[in-house]
């Protein structure tokens, strides 16, 4: 079959600008000696890097090779962590360019990996990446709290699939906080997947309906702010939804840490002690930090908890090392995702922390599994749960 490669001007320019310097794999400033690109941890060849993928794009474009399952396997080992975007001095939009290549894989008839195929099918049929018999989306929400939802909400809470079905302590804690603070909120019983897994699997056009459904529900609620505990959902709303619904959004998109920081500033959120002295470290989720440039808000919150001793990680902020939870890696290459999470858990434990804090349900899940496998005592927890525990 003849290869078709519909290339964007950006990708054409990027692949001819890449000088194969390898900087895309390294950190910035003091982390300049650390390899941050997960692919470079796994693959020894230069090709396992953002620069390598640029050369693959070029080779396909020049007709030296075609799209193949081997290209797919390499592309899906990218966690979309965005470290290359920060560290490459030349290009800066790698994740979108790689996603464009995934779209072309689909266009050229290269089958998805089986687990990814199921995810896409599940999203299209059940509006969630999870298969099997699923409970109701808001099953985690007690009847009492359901009653506290408002028809004129101050905020709309977009829960996200991982929180709705897997890490339900997070939305539970989030709603607890809202209830304690008397903040009227709304949740959509019929929330659909935000579309991120479809986008990262190369099916961007199929996200349009998902986006339209979610946006309409939010707008109908009348809320002027939408708050997310999942940074990936927040990132796609901010960065892609205007493109997918073909108009600007009529509401503000905020990650929970931004929202809580705002409440702190307004004096509405006062954090006290949790009840037991703990040491915590914080893992910057890739789609929150590098994806949305949110670094200070979670730190301000952690530092405000009285009996929490916050220790900064060696690789943090824009130099954060991916936990392996993103880019469909845990389903496509579970062993690799696990390897990355173990590296991150070990890094976090070096700080002496009892609590491995993140602000992303996928990160929490991946870190929790790795900590358990490593038989470590430290506990993976979401920042929202800590806020709930320390709210005065």
């Amino acid at each position: 079959m003849e290869t078709r490669f519909n290339i964007s001007e950006d990708l054409y320019t990027a692949m001819h600008k890449c000088i194969r310097c390898g900087q895309c794999g390294y950190g910035n400033e003091e982390a300049r000696f650390s390899v941050l690109c997960p692919m470079q941890i796994k693959g020894k060849y230069f090709t396992y890097s953002a620069g390598g993928i640029m050369q693959i794009a070029r080779a396909i474009y020049e007709g030296k090779m075609g799209f193949s399952e081997s290209v797919r396997d390499l592309l899906f080992q990218c966690t979309t962590c965005g470290a290359c975007e920060i560290n490459c001095g030349i290009i800066g939009s790698q994740v979108d360019l790689f996603t464009l290549m995934k779209r072309e894989l689909v266009e050229n008839g290269i089958p998805l990996l089986e687990p990814h195929k199921s995810i896409v099918e599940n999203i299209l049929s059940k509006k969630s990446p999870y298969g099997g018999r699923l409970p109701a989306r808001t099953e985690w929400l007690s009847d009492e709290k359901k009653d506290s939802m408002s028809s004129s909400p101050e905020i709309f809470y977009f829960v996200g699939c991982v929180s709705s079905y897997m890490e339900t302590e997070i939305p539970d804690a989030f709603v607890n906080v809202l209830t304690k603070l008397d903040i009227p909120f709304a949740i959509n019983d019929d929330e659909w997947c935000c579309g991120a897994p479809l986008y990262f699997a190369g099916y961007e056009k199929k996200t349009y309906d998902m986006a339209k459904h979610n946006v309409e529900a939010i707008e109908k609620s009348g809320a002027s702010k939408v708050v997310f505990t999942c940074p990936t959902c927040a990132m796609v709303f901010k960065n892609y939804y205007p493109r997918w619904v073909k108009r600007p959004l009529q509401f503000e998109v905020l990650h929970a840490t931004q929202y809580f920081e705002r409440l702190q500033d307004e004096g509405r959120l006062k954090l006290g002690p949790m009840g037991a002295q703990k040491t915590a470290t914080y893992h910057d989720p890739c789609h929150l930090g590098r994806g949305q440039d949110i670094y200070d808000a979670p730190r301000r919150i952690l530092n405000a908890i009285e009996d929490l001793d916050f220790k900064e990680l060696n690789l943090s902020r824009e130099n954060s090392f991916c936990c392996g939870g993103g880019g469909l890696l845990p389903t496509g290459f579970p062993g690799f995702a696990d390897e990355l999470a173990r590296i991150r858990v070990s890094d976090m434990e070096k700080t002496g922390a009892d609590l491995l804090v993140s602000a992303c349900p996928a990160c929490k899940e991946n870190l929790k599994i790795a900590a358990k496998k490593l038989k470590r005592g430290a506990k993976a927890i979401d920042i929202t749960e800590l806020i709930d525990q320390s709210l005065q």
Binding site: T13, K17, R32, R58, A59
Partner: protein
């Protein structure tokens, strides 16, 4: 599976040899390869030891298969692209810093070590290595094999190489410098016989694969400082650099024109968009209030000496109409420029984002990269401005720095191609056609020699008997011409 793959599988375990098209694609082009001209190797191997390289070259020699060695880092000259196919030996896993000898001031390194790694290790010990403007993830060994520009070029000559270990297809393993004698160590370039380190320098992997190199390192001294001086024209800046260097006042001096300096300000602000003023038609005249160029001198040593050197630099600058700034003034007036230069010349660490970041704003193309006699450089500068005004689209600018104690100058005149490269495709091809004749004209008319060989066999042909002797040596060490034949050197 090819016969070659089978043969090499006896040397390399399966996780260090690949003929997977996807893996091979990563090695098919670099910043210098024109659109549509990519070439993929047949195999990539990841050697870890000198012995593995020896076996690789024996097998490749027997099978007459090209071998292209690749270390790490920036590639903008097509030197590691296997344009005749064959095997790429990716040396990234040979990444040991074997020894740092503080007493004899050298480091013994493998090709996969990066500048980041070496400078970090040296910093812990109060030492410094010669830092060129390649990316920090580049290989010092590979870079030094090509006579780099950098922070010690004026006082120490841009040649940090001492002893080498080289594996050749036919002549086996050769150790050069003092390492030629088993008990003499790696400390020295010269002994009682001819210098073979120099034979391999600038051979671009066409004579063998360098598996170890002892490279010079420098004691940081009690004080290190930069003196930044602005000039309104190039001739006084040239005089300033010559005087500083010949009178042994500075370890390095560079002169960067206004556009280049503006790039540094842009990098500091993390902007990816070039200021409009950098794209103005008249590139010779800086915007109002901006100096034509800035010379930066690196001084180091005992504090009293550095104080005196700084005063002398200021005095010389004043005599020539330049305006020297103290560090505080420089930081305030040119913060991006200062931070960049301070990182290179004082802290001894590649700035990050570094030189490569300039490329975000456009495609960096060296219009002219050469060394020339000081007296000819003013004419070359004029020639390049005239050419640029005729043929280049803005922005374009240059930097110059003295080499070899001021006996020659390095001159880099670059043009940035901005915007979509699809729209600029014809312009890029036009530039390529100009570059074909440029270096030959510069050599013929001004005695300017290309800084690094740019795949022009006719250029090598101009070297007469020197070239003949090199060809004979090549026949001895690599009779089947398997070593990086894509360089078109032999």
């Amino acid at each position: 599976m090819s016969e070659l793959f089978r043969a090499l599988s006896s040397v390399f375990p399966k996780d260090r040899i690949s003929d997977d098209e996807t893996v091979l694609a990563g090695y098919g082009a670099d910043g210098a390869i024109a659109p549509g001209s990519m070439t993929l190797p047949s195999l990539v191997v990841l050697p870890k030891t000198m012995e593995e390289i020896r076996h690789l070259l024996q097998i490749a020699h027997r099978s007459r298969v090209p071998v292209t060695p690749m270390a790490r880092g920036s590639n903008i000259a097509g030197m590691t692209v296997p344009v005749q196919g064959g095997v790429v030996a990716d040396l990234r896993l040979m990444n040991k810093i074997i020894e740092i000898n503080e007493d004899a001031a050298y480091a013994l390194i493998e090709p996969g070590v990066t500048f980041h790694e070496l400078s970090m290790k040296l910093r812990e010990k109060g030492f410094f290595c010669h830092l060129p403007t390649a990316a920090g993830g580049s290989s010092p060994l590979a870079n030094y094999m090509m006579r780099p520009s950098g922070n010690f070029t004026a006082k120490w000559d841009p040649d940090p190489l001492l002893s080498l270990e080289v594996v050749t297809p036919e002549a086996g393993i050769i150790k050069t410098g003092s390492a030629a004698f088993e008990t003499a160590g790696w400390r020295a370039r010269y002994h009682c016989f001819p210098d073979l380190t120099g034979l391999f320098a600038n051979s671009y992997g066409t004579l063998g694969i360098v598996t170890k190199a002892a490279v010079k390192i420098f004691d940081r001294g009690e004080d290190e400082r930069l003196v930044l001086t602005t000039f309104d024209d190039f001739p006084p800046a040239m005089d300033y650099m010559k005087r500083l260097v010949r009178r042994n006042l500075a370890e390095s001096v560079t002169f960067w024109t206004w556009g280049w300096n503006m790039f540094h300000e842009m990098m500091l602000s993390k902007s990816e968009k070039m200021p409009e003023v950098m794209l103005k038609q008249d590139q010779k005249t800086p915007p109002p209030g901006v100096p034509f160029g800035i010379a930066s001198a690196r001084l180091s040593g005992y504090k009293e000496v550095v104080d005196a050197q700084e005063k002398t630099c200021i005095k010389i600058a004043r005599e020539l109409g330049g305006d020297s700034l103290n560090n505080e003034e420089a930081k305030e007036k040119y913060p991006g420029c200062y931070e960049y230069l301070d990182s290179y010349f004082v802290k001894g660490i590649h700035p990050k984002p570094g030189e490569e970041s300039q490329i975000r704003a456009g495609l960096h193309l060296p219009g002219c990269l050469l060394t020339a006699e000081p007296s000819k450089l003013l004419e070359i500068e004029k020639f390049m401005w005239d050419l640029a005004e005729r043929e280049f689209k803005p922005p374009y600018f240059y930097r110059a720095l003295p080499y070899s104690h001021g006996r020659e100058f390095f001159f880099a005149f670059v043009v940035y191609v901005t915007g979509s490269l699809i729209e600029q495709r014809d312009y890029l091809l036009h530039l390529k056609s100009i570059y074909g004749d440029l270096y030959r004209n510069l050599l013929r008319n001004y005695g300017g020699v290309m800084f690094r060989y740019r795949k022009d066999p006719a250029f090598f042909g101009m070297t007469g008997q020197y070239g003949e002797l090199l060809r004979k040596i090549k026949k001895l060490v690599d009779p089947n011409n398997i070593m990086n034949p894509g360089m078109l050197l032999f």
